[in-house]
């Protein structure tokens, strides 16, 4: 299956800007479906970005993050061609991991 994670990481030489877009329903547990039944909570809890064996960014999320979440951050270092490892785990224990090359 194709990865749920899409990442664009761009190095300016000194810093690397990272944008990630993830496919996930991010159900908060407060929304009802057409039949009036509550949709159970299903959301990513932790999203981790690793560069050169070190975590450069950790996102802890609740159900208040939008469906198909987007996040952008910048870290110092990272050269073109370096690998960035991205992984998430959701409240049901599902996970996904991918790697992206810094451009």
């Amino acid at each position: 299956m194709a990865s749920t994670i899409r990442v664009r990481a761009t190095s300016s030489g000194e810093t690397t800007e990272v944008q990630a877009l993830i496919q996930h329903p991010m159900d908060s547990g407060f929304v009802k479906n057409a039949k009036g039944e509550t949709i159970p909570p299903h959301f990513i809890q932790q999203l981790t970005f690793e560069h050169d064996g070190k975590n450069v960014f950790i996102a802890d999320w609740g159900g208040g993050i939008s469906k198909d979440p987007y996040v952008k951050f910048t870290f110092k270092g990272g050269k073109k061609g370096d690998e960035l490892k991205i992984s998430w785990v959701d409240n049901k224990g599902a996970t996904d991991t991918t790697t992206a090359k810094i451009q």
């Binding site: 450069v56 996102a59 939008s66 469906k67 987007y70 952008k72 951050f73 110092k76």
Partner: protein, 162 residues
């Protein structure tokens, strides 16, 4: 033990731990730093269940935030679609270790907490859900202190300009 009792007990224990940490910090400013740093990477489950800004801040950080004009919160005046509201923050504060977003009127007020390791810039953009018109608050933990900025975002339901 039922789930309800279990979570109530946990909350009490956590609140107790927060109070102890506060007292400890008051007496020994640097003594507890390594323990807090280690706890920083764990998912703050209890904080995400809180119903008010004050409770979420207390559960997450165990201290209060002071408003700072060095924290720049970028949020729309009016969000046509409460399901996707782009919010970003930047700050000129030094030694930022984490950034958190709160929406006062959401069922659970804590939206996200970002851990900022050394070498990562204190600028984050994300998209959040808002149940209705509400204050949005961003917390920036810098040098062991907590700073905040808030802005009201009006949420239009069905695009009728309310």
């Amino acid at each position: 033990m039922s789930d309800v009792e279990f979570s109530a007990t946990r909350r009490l224990i956590l609140q107790g731990a927060g109070a102890v940490a506060l007292i400890g910090l008051g007496n020994l400013p640097f003594g507890l730093t390594p323990a807090l740093a280690a706890a920083n990477d764990k998912y703050p489950e209890e904080a995400f269940k809180q119903k008010s800004d004050a409770d979420a801040i207390k559960t997450l950080y165990g201290k209060t935030a002071e408003p700072s004009d060095k924290v720049k919160l970028d949020a729309p005046e009016i969000a046509e679609n409460g399901a996707v509201v782009p919010i970003s923050v930047s700050t000129t504060l030094a030694d930022v270790t984490s950034i958190a977003f709160l929406v006062s009127e959401n069922p659970n007020v804590l939206i996200a907490k970002y851990n900022i390791p050394a070498g990562t810039l204190p600028n984050v953009a994300n998209r959040i859900k808002m149940a209705k018109t509400s204050n949005v608050t961003v917390l920036v933990e810098a040098g062991g202190k907590l700073f905040s900025a808030s802005k009201e975002v009006k949420v239009t339901v069905g695009g009728c300009g309310g």
